[in-house]
C-alpha cells in the first residue's frame, strides 16, 4: 500500500510537472506578441520594448522556461497582461464562483445520472429504458452552449421562470461575508436565509444546465453497471432468499453499481469545472475562472490563459488521484488485491 501510494504520488508529480511543461511549450509558440497586446493600441514601440523586458519576453526561450518553472513551483503563474495583477490571485478570487457552480452541477449530474441510470437498468430493454437511452444520446449530442442559449431564451425571455443572469446574486442582495467563498454556504453561516435562497436560485439555473449536460456519461455507466449487478450471481443469491426488490436494488444493485461512478466523476468534474464552463459562464455572466479564460482569450492575454489552463490541468490530476484513492477505499476487491 505504501509503495503503491508512493508510486502514485510519483505519477502525480510527473503529471503536474508535465502539465506545466506542456503548456509552456504550447504557449510559447503563440504568434501574437503579448507585449504589444499588453501595451495596447496607442503604445509606442519603446513602450512595447519596455513591457517585453518587464515580462522577460526578450530572454532566450530556455531562460524563460527556467524562470517559468521556478515560478510555477512557487505557485506564481505570472502577471496578467490585461489587468496587471498576479494570475494566481485572480484565479483564486474567481475560483469559488466556479467551484460553487461546478459542485452543484456535479451533484445534479450525479443525482440525475444515478437516478435515470437505475431507472433504465430496472426497466432494461423496455420502453422506459429506450426513452432514457434516447434522452442520453440527445443530451450528450447537443452543444451545451446551444442548450444554454435556448434555455435562457425560454426560461428567462418567454416564460420568466428565472431572472436574467447577472452574476451570483439577483439585484438587491449583498454578497455574504466570505468564509468559504460559496455564497450559499456563507449566507447560511451568516444566518441569512434569504440571501442563501437567492444565491441558490441564481446558481440553480446554470448548474442545472451543466449538470444535465454532464449526466449522460453517468447514466450510461450506472445503467450498465446496475444491469450487470442485478444480473449477477450475488443478486440471484439474494433473490433465492426472497429478499424484497428494494433491498436487492439497494444492496446488490446500487452498492456495486456506484463504484465505477467514482472514477467517472473525475471526467465529469473536469467537464463541469472547465470544459463546459468557459461556455456557460460566458452566457450566464458568471464571474468564475471560465469567464476569466474567455476574457483572456479575447485579449490574447497569454499569461492569464496559461494560468487558467495550468490550474485546470493540475486540479484534474490531483482530483483523479484523490478519486482513485477513494475508489481503492470504496472497493474491497481492489483493497484486497493491494493487500490491505
Amino acid at each position: 500500500m505504501l509503495r503503491s501510494g508512493l508510486a502514485r504520488s510519483g505519477i502525480a508529480v510527473v503529471g503536474v510537472v508535465g502539465v506545466a511543461v506542456l503548456i509552456f511549450f504550447i504557449t510559447r509558440l503563440l504568434p501574437g506578441d503579448p507585449a504589444r497586446v499588453a501595451a495596447g493600441q496607442y503604445a509606442t514601440d519603446a513602450q512595447v520594448e519596455q513591457l517585453r523586458r518587464q515580462y522577460g519576453l526578450d530572454q532566450p526561450v530556455l531562460v524563460q522556461f527556467g524562470r517559468y518553472m521556478v515560478d510555477f513551483f512557487r505557485l506564481d503563474l505570472g502577471t496578467s497582461i490585461r489587468t496587471g495583477q498576479p494570475v494566481t490571485d485572480e484565479l483564486l478570487t474567481r475560483l469559488p464562483a466556479t467551484v460553487e457552480l461546478g459542485l452543484l452541477a456535479l451533484l445534479i449530474a450525479v443525482v440525475l445520472g444515478v437516478g435515470l441510470g437505475v431507472l433504465a437498468a430496472v426497466h432494461r430493454h423496455r420502453v422506459v429504458d429506450k426513452i432514457i437511452q434516447l434522452l442520453v444520446v440527445f443530451a450528450s449530442a447537443a452543444a451545451v452552449f446551444w442548450i444554454a442559449l435556448l434555455a435562457i431564451y425560454l426560461f428567462v425571455n418567454e416564460w420568466g421562470v428565472f431572472t436574467s443572469p447577472i452574476g451570483r446574486l439577483p439585484r438587491g442582495y449583498a454578497p455574504p461575508d466570505p468564509v468559504t467563498g460559496f455564497y450559499v454556504v456563507d449566507a447560511l453561516l451568516a444566518g441569512d436565509l434569504e440571501t442563501a435562497g437567492a444565491a441558490l436560485r441564481t446558481l440553480l439555473f446554470p448548474a442545472m444546465l451543466l449538470g444535465l449536460h454532464a449526466s449522460p456519461s453517468i447514466v450510461k455507466i450506472v445503467r450498465s453497471s446496475t444491469i450487470r449487478a442485478l444480473e449477477s450471481d450475488y443478486a440471484r443469491t439474494s433473490r433465492s432468499f426472497g429478499y424484497p426488490p428494494g433491498s436487492i436494488l439497494f444492496h446488490d444493485g446500487l452498492r456495486n453499481a456506484l463504484l465505477p461512478v467514482i472514477t467517472n466523476i473525475g471526467l465529469v468534474a473536469g467537464f463541469v469545472l472547465a470544459g463546459g464552463n468557459v461556455l456557460i459562464e460566458q452566457l450566464y455572466a458568471w464571474p468564475g475562472i471560465g469567464q476569466y479564460a474567455y476574457d483572456s482569450l479575447q485579449e490574447n492575454d497569454l499569461f492569464a490563459l496559461r494560468g487558467y489552463v495550468i490550474l485546470i490541468g493540475v486540479t484534474y490530476i490531483l482530483l483523479n488521484i484523490v478519486l482513485e484513492l477513494a475508489y481503492r477505499r470504496a472497493d474491497p476487491r481492489v483493497a484486497v488485491a493491494e493487500g490491505r
Binding site: G32, D33, R36, V37, A39, G40, Q41, Y42, A43, T44, D45, A46, Q47, Q50, Q54, R82, T83, G84, Q85, E90, T93, R94, A97, I152, V156, N157, G160, T163, S164, P165, I166, G167, R168, L169, P170, R171, G172, Y173, A174, P175, D192, E194, T195, A198, Q282, L283, A285, W286, P287, G288, Q291, Y292, Y294, D295, L297, Q298, E299, N300, D301
Partner: protein, 514 residues
C-alpha cells in the same frame, strides 16, 4: 429583481451594465470601458467639463472646461504658464488634503511611460514634465507650455489626469515599479465623488458616495453605483427590461430599437463624431492607386449601412472629420463624399486597369464589434457587384490591434477626445504617426497639420483644417462609412445622462426619480 435584505432602505442605487469587466483601476493603464467609467468617477481632476442644464434627461458638454478640484486656473499674459490653485477643501477620501505635490506627481505620472496617456501629452505642449510641472507652494501648481492651444484646458479635464495620492504611491513604488502600477492596478486613492465599496472580480464593482468630497454638490446623486459586467449585450438589455440593471451602455442599434419600443425604458441617443471607416492600406500595390480607393468608396452601400446596420442611429461621414466635430467640412451630418454608384466605380476601376473579377481583397474586422461585422457582410455583397471578391476576416480584438498597420483593408472607427479636427487628422492621417494605420502619406497634408498645431489663432487653425480635410476627401485613403451615435438605454426613472466629450457617464450627475 428582488427587494432583498442586503439592500439598504431608502438608499438610491444605480446598476450600470458595461460589456466588460473592470480590468484594472490604474487610470493610465486601463483599457476596459467599465474601468474607464469607474476611474472617471473615483478620481477628481483639476478642471471638469462644463455641462448645459439638463434637457430631456441629458446634460450636454458645452465644449468648455470649468474648475473642479482647482479653485482657480489662470494663464499668464503670453499664455505660456497656467497656474492652478487647489480648493482648500480638496481632500482624498481618507481625509488627507490634496497638495500641490500630489498634483505634480499625478500629472507627471500621466505623462510618463507607465501608460499610453503620454501620447496625448504632446498636445499639452509641455516639453519636459520635470521642468514644466512645478509646485509653487502647497496649494499652487504651475504648468508651463511651449505655446497655447485650445486643447490644453480641455485635456486637463480628462480623467487621464486624475489626482492621485503621491505618498501612497511612493510607499508602494519599487525599483522595478517606479510608478506603483501594481498598487494603482488594484487600489485607489479616491479623490472624486465616489469611493470603491467592494468588488466581485468578473462580476461587479460597487461604488458609494465619497463623504469627504466637496468639489461639487452630490446630495442628489445616487448613493451606490454598481458597475456590472454584462458581456452579452442582449442579456444586458434583458436585464434592463426586467429591472436587474438600470442603465446599459454601448447598446447595439437593434437593441436601441428594442429599448425605444419598451415604454418603461428610455433610449439616450448621443451624437458623436465617432467615424466608422473602411481603411485601405495605401502601401498595397493595388490600393495605393487613388482611383481604386475612390471606386471602392463609390461601391459602399451607405444608406443600407445606416438603415440596416445602424438602424438610423448614425450620421453621414463626410471625410475623416465628420459632423459634429468642430471645423467639420459638412456641418449637417448628411453629405457623402462618394455616393453609391456602381457605374462610377466600374469606370474608375477600368481607368485603373482593373477588370471585373480580377480583384480580390481581404477585409479585416474586429469580431467583437457587431456593427462593423455586419457592415463587412454588406460591403462584401456590394463589392461583388463590381466584380471585386472580398474575403471577410474576423479577428479578435487583440489580434486586430496587433496587426492593424499590416492589414490590407479593415473596418474600424475612431473617436477623438477633445472634438478637435487637427488632433483627429494628426493621429489618423499624418505620415509616420503610428495610429495612421492605412500608412497614408501626403506631404501637403502633413505640412498643414504641423502649421495648425503651431498656430494659436482659432480662425487660422480652422482654415488650415478645412484645407487639410479637402485633401483627405479627395485622396480617399479610407471609405468614410458613417458616424456612430452612442446609444445608452436606461429605465425611464433614470436621468442625468452626460453627453460628455469622452462618452463617459458622470455618476454624480445621475438622478433617480423615486
Amino acid at each position: 429583481g428582488g427587494d432583498g435584505a442586503g439592500k439598504k432602505a431608502g438608499a438610491k442605487e444605480v446598476i450600470i451594465a458595461y460589456a466588460t469587466d473592470v480590468d484594472t483601476l490604474d487610470p493610465h493603464q486601463l483599457r476596459s470601458e467599465a474601468a474607464y467609467g469607474v476611474v472617471g468617477n473615483i478620481y477628481g481632476t483639476l478642471m471638469q467639463e462644463e455641462y448645459s442644464a439638463p434637457a430631456d434627461g441629458v446634460l450636454k458638454y458645452t465644449g468648455k472646461s470649468t474648475l473642479y478640484l482647482a479653485q482657480s486656473a489662470t494663464w499668464n499674459k503670453d499664455r505660456t504658464t497656467l497656474t492652478f490653485k487647489l480648493r482648500p477643501d480638496a481632500v482624498f477620501a481618507d481625509g488627507r488634503p490634496i497638495t500641490s505635490e500630489d498634483v505634480v506627481y499625478s500629472l507627471r505620472r500621466a505623462l510618463s511611460d507607465v501608460g499610453y496617456a503620454s501620447a496625448i501629452g504632446t498636445w499639452l505642449n509641455i516639453s519636459d514634465p520635470e521642468k514644466g510641472i512645478v509646485a509653487v507652494d502647497t496649494s499652487t501648481v504651475d504648468v508651463k507650455v511651449t505655446h497655447y492651444s485650445p486643447l490644453i484646458e480641455k485635456f486637463l479635464a480628462f480623467q487621464l489626469f486624475p489626482m492621485l495620492d503621491r505618498s501612497a504611491a511612493e510607499k508602494a513604488a519599487g525599483s522595478d515599479d517606479p510608478w506603483a502600477a501594481g498598487f494603482f492596478g488594484k487600489d485607489a486613492t479616491e479623490s472624486g465623488p465616489y469611493v470603491i465599496d467592494s468588488q466581485v472580480k468578473g462580476q461587479s464593482l460597487t461604488l458609494v458616495k465619497n463623504k469627504a468630497f466637496k468639489a461639487s454638490d452630490t446630495a442628489d446623486a445616487p448613493d451606490r453605483v454598481v458597475v456590472q459586467n454584462m458581456p452579452d449585450p442582449q442579456q444586458a438589455f434583458l436585464a434592463l427590461q426586467n429591472g436587474a440593471v438600470d442603465i446599459v451602455t454601448g447598446l447595439t442599434p437593434d437593441l436601441a430599437q428594442a429599448v425605444e419600443r419598451d415604454p418603461d425604458l428610455k433610449l439616450y441617443e448621443l451624437a458623436y463624431s465617432d467615424v466608422a471607416f473602411l481603411g485601405m492600406n495605401n502601401k498595397d500595390p493595388v490600393l495605393k492607386d487613388a482611383r481604386v480607393r475612390r471606386a471602392i468608396s463609390h461601391l459602399i452601400p451607405y444608406q443600407t449601412l445606416r438603415d440596416e446596420v445602424m438602424k438610423g442611429y448614425s450620421g453621414a461621414a463626410y471625410g475623416a472629420v465628420p459632423y459634429p466635430m468642430s471645423d467639420a467640412l459638412d456641418p449637417t451630418g448628411e453629405k457623402i463624399a462618394y455616393p453609391t454608384d456602381v457605374n462610377a466605380a466600374k469606370k474608375l476601376l477600368d481607368e485603373a486597369g482593373i477588370k471585373p473579377g480580377e480583384l480580390s481583397l481581404t477585409l479585416s474586422v474586429q469580431a467583437s464589434d457587431t456593427v462593423l461585422r455586419q457592415s463587412a457582410i454588406f460591403i462584401q455583397s456590394a463589392l461583388a457587384q463590381a466584380g471585386i471578391a472580398l474575403k471577410v476576416n474576423e479577428m479578435n480584438d487583440a489580434d486586430f490591434s496587433t496587426n492593424l498597420g499590416k492589414l490590407q483593408m479593415f473596418l474600424d472607427s475612431w473617436y477623438s477626445w477633445g472634438q478637435d479636427s487637427i488632433y483627429q487628422l494628426f493621429f489618423l492621417l499624418k505620415s509616420g504617426v503610428f495610429t495612421n494605420y492605412t500608412g497614408f502619406s501626403d506631404k501637403k497634408l502633413d505640412k498643414l497639420i504641423e502649421q495648425a498645431m503651431a498656430t494659436t489663432d482659432p480662425g487660422e487653425r480652422r482654415a488650415l483644417s478645412r484645407q487639410a480635410q479637402r485633401i483627405v476627401v479627395d485622396q480617399a485613403p479610407w471609405a468614410f462609412l458613417f458616424t456612430r451615435n452612442v446609444l445608452i438605454g436606461a429605465k425611464s426613472t433614470v436621468s442625468g445622462i452626460t453627453h460628455s466629450d469622452d462618452a463617459n457617464l458622470r455618476y454624480d450627475r445621475l438622478r433617480i426619480a423615486q
